[in-house]
Each structure stands twice: as structure tokens, then as C-alpha cells.
């Protein structure tokens, strides 16, 4: 436990110390590489606006994730009910996944984002988050224990009982694992949307980073990046903990 916490912190302190020293000694201009202390000061000075912007991005991310969960789970269910349906539509889901979200983003912005960047951000984040949920949930529904299936058949379980008492609990750990991946992807999607929309219309943390860059406030860019990565880490560990709580008995 001490190793897991102490070692990374020691490494971080060492890197930050080296960084601070290097900037001080070599007099590196702050518009090229600001020192950690300058970044910290920028963060403290702009914390309210940075956190407010991060909250906006978080809102897009969570909204997109919620839609992705609903759509992914439902579509996986339809796939498990009908192999014809799966054969017909799975390739489209794959196309959606393998096409880089950044290349679709401008189109989405043109279609729905000119007046409403929020909606575009949610759609783009959804595009990024959807597939892992669909793929994992499908795999989960397929991995039902054959003997338990026989048992449900033997005792005359109806379709709903089979889903609710057997398939859903079997697939749940798969779904939880996918949320750790998809939450990060949804965040990337939201950031991409803000970048593509450009400054002026978006209000999230990615836009704040972009804006600080245009103004050559590199320390604010770093502070924004720090907030963004903390957001990603927070999301990951939230779903990691949720997974452990929900699945603790079955592993």
C-alpha cells in the first residue's frame, strides 16, 4: 500500500523539482515552458473559472455516457435476441467505432452544432463512448453459463426471468468494465467537440485550454490540462470503485 502511494508521489515530486530547477536555471521563457510554481499560481488564480468550465465538460461527458449506456445495453439485448438483427447491424457499429471521432466531429458541428454546441458535444462524446459498451455487453450476454441456462429451462423460467435473474447479472461485470473505458472515451469526445467548435461558442475546459493558447497564457493551458486529466482520473476511479462494489461478490 505504501509502495503504491509513496512511489508515484516521490517520482512526481522529483520530476516537478527537476522541471522547476531547469526553468529557473536556464531562464526558459514562460510562454515556452512555464515552471510548476507558475502553473500552480495560474491554477489558484483561475480555479473558479477553470472548475466551472470543467463542470460543463463533465456534464457533456456524463450525458453522453448515459445515452451510450442506454443505447449500448438495449442494442446488445436486441443482438442477443436476434442473430439476424446482430448480423445486419453489427458492421455499422464497427464502422462507427473505427472511424476516428475527430474526423466526424466537423460534420456533427455543421449539422447540429452551429447554434447548439452542447448538443454536438454530447453526440460526439456519445459516438466515442458507445461501441465499447455495446461490444462488452454483447460479450457478457453471450457468456451465460450453459448449465445455468439448462437449469432455468428445466424450472420453466420465462423470458423476463431469464434476462433479469441470469443474463443481466452475468453481463453486469462486462458492462462495468466497459464503463471504465467508455467514460474516458466520452471525455475525449467532449474535448474533441469543443476543439472542433473553436473558441467563442463552447464553454468547457477544452475551450478554456484552446483560448489560453491563443492568448499565449501557457501556464493557464497547463492548469487547464491539469484539471482535464484530474477529471479523467476521477471518472476512471469512480467507475472502478463502482465496479468493485457491484461485482465484489462474484469475483
Amino acid at each position: 500500500m505504501i509502495r503504491r502511494i509513496f512511489y508515484p508521489i516521490a517520482a512526481l515530486v522529483l520530476v516537478l523539482g527537476f522541471w522547476q530547477l531547469a526553468v529557473d536555471i536556464y531562464q526558459i521563457p514562460k510562454f515556452v515552458l512555464p515552471s510548476p510554481s507558475a502553473i500552480f499560481l495560474a491554477f489558484v488564480a483561475q480555479a473558479p473559472s477553470l472548475l466551472a468550465a470543467a463542470f460543463v465538460t463533465l456534464k457533456f461527458t456524463l450525458a453522453a455516457l448515459a445515452f451510450a449506456i442506454i443505447n449500448g445495453v438495449l442494442l446488445a439485448l436486441f443482438f442477443s435476441l436476434s442473430s439476424t438483427f446482430e448480423t445486419t447491424f453489427y458492421p455499422f457499429a464497427v464502422v462507427l467505432q473505427v472511424t476516428p471521432v475527430i474526423s466526424i466531429a466537423p460534420l456533427v458541428i455543421i449539422w447540429v452544432g452551429i447554434d447548439n454546441v452542447d448538443r454536438a458535444a454530447i453526440i460526439i462524446a456519445w459516438l466515442a463512448a458507445f461501441f465499447p459498451i455495446l461490444a462488452n455487453m454483447s460479450a457478457g450476454l453471450r457468456s451465460v453459463d450453459k448449465t445455468l441456462e439448462d437449469l432455468f429451462l428445466l424450472y420453466g423460467a420465462n423470458r423476463w426471468q431469464r434476462f433479469w435473474l441470469l443474463e443481466w447479472p452475468t453481463a453486469l461485470p462486462f458492462l462495468m468494465a466497459s464503463l471504465k473505458i467508455s467514460s474516458g472515451l466520452a471525455l475525449i469526445g467532449a474535448v474533441v467537440a469543443e476543439f472542433v467548435a473553436g473558441s467563442g461558442s463552447a464553454t468547457g475546459i477544452a475551450w478554456r485550454i484552446l483560448e489560453a493558447g491563443h492568448r499565449l497564457q501557457i501556464e493557464t493551458m497547463f492548469a487547464g490540462l491539469l484539471v482535464l486529466s484530474m477529471l479523467g482520473v476521477g471518472l476512471f476511479y469512480f467507475f472502478d470503485t463502482l465496479e468493485k462494489i457491484i461485482c465484489r461478490r462474484s469475483h
Binding site: 448449465t147 445455468l148 439448462d150 424450472y155 435473474l165 461485482c247 469475483h251
Partner: protein, 241 residues
């Protein structure tokens, strides 16, 4: 006769016949062992009787119109996300509301009293198998089908489980069709041992042990030795070209 299978035939689609012209009967309070080499169709016989596979030839008849059937599989097949009592209650829950006292009784019958809130991962292999048996018994079945339920257990545990099955059958009065690979297990627990060759019953042995005697005496008795010998003979005959 609680259950009878007459001139039964079955084959999986696109593969060779699993069994044909197979007949067997099961009475109340009777333990019938199906014994034979791997792939001879023992498990499929149980699946057909349970209604998990459709019989293609012959007749399957039950004394009751809709007999309650319990099934214990080769591995415990427990739901890892559910505790012991929820696992045991499954057959009742699928049919309607379940009665806690019935579940308590089943747990006590297999020696699991007090473990109701444990999860499968917290149990030993033997305890997991007890849960599986309790689940098979909870709906008070007239016919209990067991497909090599103790194959994965060690010899000592297997002996204990054999005693458990004998006690349960004496108490509950169900008929048991028990598939096993072990001729010692078959010779000990069965009233009748049906030896199966490829898709057919090639002989029957009735060990006739005196259950009033101590376990050790029964296992060392002449009747037990004779039964093992007779089963071995049948299996050896089958192997002779």
C-alpha cells in the same frame, strides 16, 4: 412405476446416434445408477428425461402428470452473484414466491445451516456441491437426476456425499437416477446399476447392500465386492473385441 423410458432413441442433429432402443424404469425411493464409459450417452438420457432434449423415438412416461424434477449437474453451476439461500431458492422463485422455511429446511438437510448468506466464492468445492443438491431438492422433486455430481470431489468427500444422498432419499422418498463413472460409487449407493455400452444398456446389477449395517461393514461386505465384480465383468465384456 414413477418413470419409464421405453425403446428410446436419440441423436444430435448431424451426428451419430447417441442411444437407441433404450429402456429403463425408476421406482419411488429407488436409486438407479447409470454407469459407462465417457460418451456412451448417459448424460443425454438424463437430459431427455428432464425435457432438456426432445426424445426422437420411443416413449417417456411419468406416473404423475407433471412430475417435479430436480437436477444436479456435474459442476455446481451456482450463480456467483447470489448468496447460498438465493441460489437454493431459484427453482421456487421461478415458479412463484418462495417460502423461507422451505429453504432453511433444504439447507439443514444438506448440512449447510447457517451458511445462507455466504457467496459461492466463499465456499469449498464440497459445500458448493451441497448447495447444488439443496437447490435440486428444494422443490421437493419426485425424480432427482444427478449427472456425475461428485466427479470433481476427492474420495473422502465423495464418501460423505454418498451417505448424504442415501439419507435424503430415505427421508424424501424420491427416485434418483444417478450417472457416474465410478463403479465403486455405483456399487455402493445404487439399488440397481445399469451398465451402459455405446447407446445401450448391456447389463444390470443389483448390489442389495444391507443399509442397517455400518457404512464400513457395507463397503467391506461380500455383496459390495460381488457387485463391483459383476460390473467389472460387464465392462470387460464390452471391451472385448
Amino acid at each position: 412405476m414413477m418413470m419409464s423410458l421405453k425403446d428410446a432413441g436419440f441423436s444430435y442433429p448431424g451426428s451419430a446416434t447417441v442411444f437407441e432402443s433404450l429402456s429403463l424404469e425408476l421406482k419411488r425411493r429407488e436409486i438407479v445408477c447409470l454407469l459407462g464409459p465417457s460418451g456412451c450417452g448417459k448424460s443425454t438420457v438424463l437430459r431427455v428425461i428432464a425435457g432438456l432434449e426432445r426424445l426422437q423415438q420411443g416413449r417417456l412416461q411419468f406416473e404423475a402428470t407433471e412430475p417435479a424434477i430436480g437436477f444436479a449437474f456435474q459442476h455446481a453451476a451456482l450463480m456467483p452473484w447470489a448468496d447460498v439461500q438465493t441460489n437454493i431458492a431459484l427453482p421456487l422463485r421461478l415458479k412463484g414466491p418462495s417460502d423461507a422455511s422451505v429453504i432453511e429446511k433444504s439447507m439443514a438437510a444438506v448440512g449447510l445451516a447457517g451458511l445462507g448468506t455466504r457467496y459461492p466464492a466463499q465456499l469449498s468445492g464440497g459445500q458448493q456441491m451441497r448447495v447444488s443438491i439443496a437447490r435440486a431438492l428444494v422443490s421437493n422433486p419426485e425424480i432427482l437426476l444427478m449427472d456425475e455430481p461428485f466427479a470433481a470431489l476427492d474420495e473422502i468427500l465423495r464418501f460423505q456425499m454418498n451417505e448424504l444422498i442415501l439419507e435424503l432419499v430415505a427421508d424424501m422418498g424420491c427416485g434418483v437416477l444417478f450417472v457416474t463413472h465410478s463403479l465403486y460409487e455405483a456399487a455402493y449407493i445404487a439399488d440397481r446399476v445399469l451398465v451402459m455400452g455405446e447407446g445401450q444398456i448391456i447389463g444390470e446389477v443389483a448390489p442389495g447392500l444391507d443399509r442397517s449395517q455400518a457404512v464400513s461393514v457395507q463397503r467391506a461386505s461380500q455383496g459390495f465386492a460381488d457387485a463391483v465384480f459383476a460390473i467389472s465383468e460387464l465392462l470387460a465384456v464390452r471391451q472385448t473385441p
